[in-house]
Amino acid sequence: MENTRNTPASRTVLLDHLRTGTWVGYLTRYLIAGMLIVFAVAPALWIVSASLNPAKSLVGGTLWPENPSFVNYRELVTNDFFPYLTWFGNSLKIATITTLCTVTITCLAGYSLSRFRFKGRHSFMIAILILNVFPAILGMVAIFTTIQQLGLYVDALGLDKHVSLILIYTAGSMGINVLMVKAYIDTIPVELDESALVDGASPWQTFRHIILPIMTPIVITIGVLTFIAAYGDFVIARVLLKSSDQLTVMVGLMLFQTDRFDQDFGMITAGAVLAAIPVILIYIPLQRFVIDGLTAGSVKG
């Protein structure tokens, strides 16, 4: 093959191709890139600019405000209609606790599924895969009515309670994550824990001191994915939460926008920008882990 490629004939063909292709080709490609960049960046840029625009009503023509200020942000955190900071805190609290619960449960379950052999192990994993096929959103009517009924008997598990939301998120995010953790532990040599077990360590100690420290990458991946999903959820929170002080920032923003779009446009844009910040802050340094998680299924097979 090397020989064929080096024959003068094919080299000329390639060079010709490049020579004619270069100028027009590059221009077209930069043009397409330019259009795509406008499509991708304009909305993000515009919302930031709108949030910094102190004018109550936007004049559509100017993309960047003439005298940018943070007055919208100040109004957002001090206004009397919408407890934005409370929503923000609720979201961070719910997403953080959900992440901790999910990581704990999936790590323990993944370890058990990877290292122990027991009856029903295989069917258990099949069951996870089948259940995971159905988007959680399909259960919204059933989940709402169930939580409504449970709330009559267990106060903390009723409507408008963060505990029920956290448990639902945790249950929903476990399935596929358990299998990811299991697959990750499968790649850790068994000899490692066997030598610890021979030395007299209990399974728990083996897990805690040998396996867990090596698992950091998968723990981060699952943690980041769970946090982003719980923080960004809209529909389950919308269905279950009712009173203004209990809302998450996503539900709150949506209500805010529906109720007071025209009056408080500046505040709404500021709220949207602030709401995006936690995810962006997590995403930038940990991007690699997000991509690992999302593409886990694609390249492997």
């Binding site: 991708a40 058990s112 159905f134 009517v141 639902i168 007299g200 996503m250 962006i280 930038i284 299924g297």
Partner: protein, 517 residues
């Protein structure tokens, strides 16, 4: 070493068992209450979880399951049970007016009271505590006075004993511990509030009838389990159960009604009735088109980003800019687009007007709303397709291209005959999963325009950009005063079936269950 370890794990086990015991006792208590109130589906789900947890912690052979028993319990309750319960709901009439079990509805009706003619009457005086709770001192025609507080049995009490002060000339104590006696002139302004309070506990409930008189109330309705009828104690009217509502022979009904089995009634409603079926088919077709267009276009843009800028100077910067939409939360992104396309506030309308002289009605015209939601969805999801196709392309062996170059293939030829087919084969499972996801992409549809504009002349409210899942949401949560959980569940059941079909389809392209090996 070994000795210490066993000790630790034994303590651990005992601790574990203790926590589990408390948890199970708690669940069991709830199960009994649920069962008594007739909430059988939830009671059986919780029972199943209790049995599972108990087995895991009591039988040695289930030890490996102890590592994640709680997780399995949660998944049973919040993932598996909702699916089964949806199927159950789809064959019931649950919805507004029918939210309780029969037992709960009977209890509720039996707790309604009425003021009978010629009931026992009392003289009374009112007392008020600092936290605005009221109590009555009742004076029967003969016998000792009674202390009556809401929700507590009437107490026979003697003035001068147990915190009750000395009596005045009428036999009413001047003071009661924790309460302040109200004078006549203090009572008058609040008489109507006082008159709405039921003092005492059924069957001995007392209500104020006038400034002088309080009377014993009686239950208005009584359920007769032998005949399965509700009898009005005041008028003697008999109410028989008809489709989840107690109904008299004259057609009068009692609220609340209760949940009953209605068979395939909901499925007949939308499959058997042309005026329902046709708009629903419209929703379905739009649903399929929306999902297909979203996946196809996002994938296409993602591919362009992956392939077209390869080897272009500055491609790293271009790609870094193009991935900007990704980390922005979905709801925030959609709100941005909603504001941007808003004719009064956004910049898109003035821009288009200056270019073309007019701007589409993104929120009122069904066609343009559809264009907009697909556009927004492409913006949201092409970075994902870029990332996965970039990953997949790296896994295509380079030798294949060398061979193509030898055969004189053009760049387009290489893409058409090598890259695309291989990519599609690698990514097919993700593409199908993405189709399933977008088939139920509630967020884009609902947050952008609530599934509106409305569809004209439909039996139940529908939107022209509704997909099935947003229609379900509309039925269950938006349509004020006529929520219809049964119908919503029946449509969800159809969605479950459709998704199962997609999964079967997906299983043909991939060994779906290879993870379980």
């Amino acid at each position: 070493m070994r000795h210490i370890n066993t000790q630790l794990s034994r303590y651990g086990y005992i601790l574990n068992l203790g926590v589990m015991g408390v948890l199970l006792a708690g669940i069991l208590r709830v199960v009994f209450q649920l069962y008594a109130d007739g909430l059988y589906p939830l009671a059986s789900a919780l029972s199943a979880i209790t049995v599972f947890l108990a087995l895991v912690y009591l039988r040695r052979r289930f030890t490996p399951l102890r590592w994640f028993a709680i997780g399995v319990g949660l998944a049973m309750l919040f993932t598996l049970y909702p699916i089964l319960y949806t199927f159950y709901l789809s064959v019931t009439n649950m919805g507004s007016g029918h939210l309780m079990t029969k037992q709960q509805a009977i209890d509720r009706l039996e707790s309604q009271l009425y003021m009978p003619e010629g009931g026992k009457t009392y003289g009374w005086a009112a007392f008020r505590s600092p936290d605005e709770a009221y109590a009555l001192w009742l004076l029967p025609e003969e016998g000792p006075g009674l202390l009556a507080r809401p929700g507590q049995p009437l107490e026979e009490a003697m003035p001068g004993e147990d915190g009750i002060g000395a009596p005045d000339q009428d036999g009413i104590p001047l003071t009661i511990d924790g309460y302040e006696r109200l004078a006549q002139n203090q009572v008058v302004p609040i008489i109507s509030a006082l008159g709405a309070i039921d003092f005492g506990e059924p069957p001995d409930t007392v209500r104020i009838r006038s400034l002088r008189e309080a009377v014993t109330l009686k239950p208005k309705y009584q359920y007769d389990p032998d005949r399965d009828v509700m009898v009005d104690q005041e008028t003697g009217t008999v109410y028989r159960p008809v489709e989840g509502t107690f109904t008299s022979d004259d057609g009068e009904t009692l609220t609340p009604g209760y949940i009953v089995y209605v068979g395939l009634h909901h499925f007949e409603r939308f499959l058997g009735n042309e005026r329902f079926r046709e708009p629903l088919i419209k929703i379905f077709l739009w649903n399929v088109s929306f999902a297909f267009a979203s996946v196809f276009l996002s994938f296409a843009v993602g591919l362009v980003v992956t392939l077209l800028f390869e080897g272009l100077p500055g491609s790293r910067v271009i790609r870094a800019l193009l991935i900007i939409p990704w980390p922005i939360p979905v709801l925030v992104s959609i709100l941005i687009w909603r504001s941007m396309l808003n004719p009064d506030l956004g910049f898109v309308a003035p821009l288009l007007e200056s270019l073309f002289g007019s701007s589409p009605a993104w929120f009122q015209n069904a066609m343009w709303t559809r264009v907009a939601v697909i556009l927004v969805n492409v913006w949201l999801s092409y970075p994902y397709f870029y990332v996965i196709s970039a990953g997949a392309i790296r896994s295509i062996p380079h030798e294949i291209y060398d061979a193509a170059v030898v055969d004189g293939a053009s760049a387009w030829g290489k893409f058409q005959h090598i890259t695309l087919p291989l990519l599609l084969r690698i990514l097919m499972p993700l593409l199908i999963a993405s189709f399933t996801f977008n088939f139920n992409n509630f967020n884009v549809i609902y947050i952008f325009n609530f599934g509106l504009p409305p569809m004209p002349n439909t039996i139940v409210p529908m939107g022209q950009t509704d997909i099935l899942i947003s229609f379900v949401y509309r039925l269950a949560f938006i349509t004020s005063n006529v929520t219809d959980y049964g119908l919503a569940a029946a449509i969800t059941v159809m969605l479950f079936l459709l998704i199962s079909l997609m999964v079967v389809f997906q299983a043909r392209f991939t060994n779906l269950f290879r993870e379980a090996d």
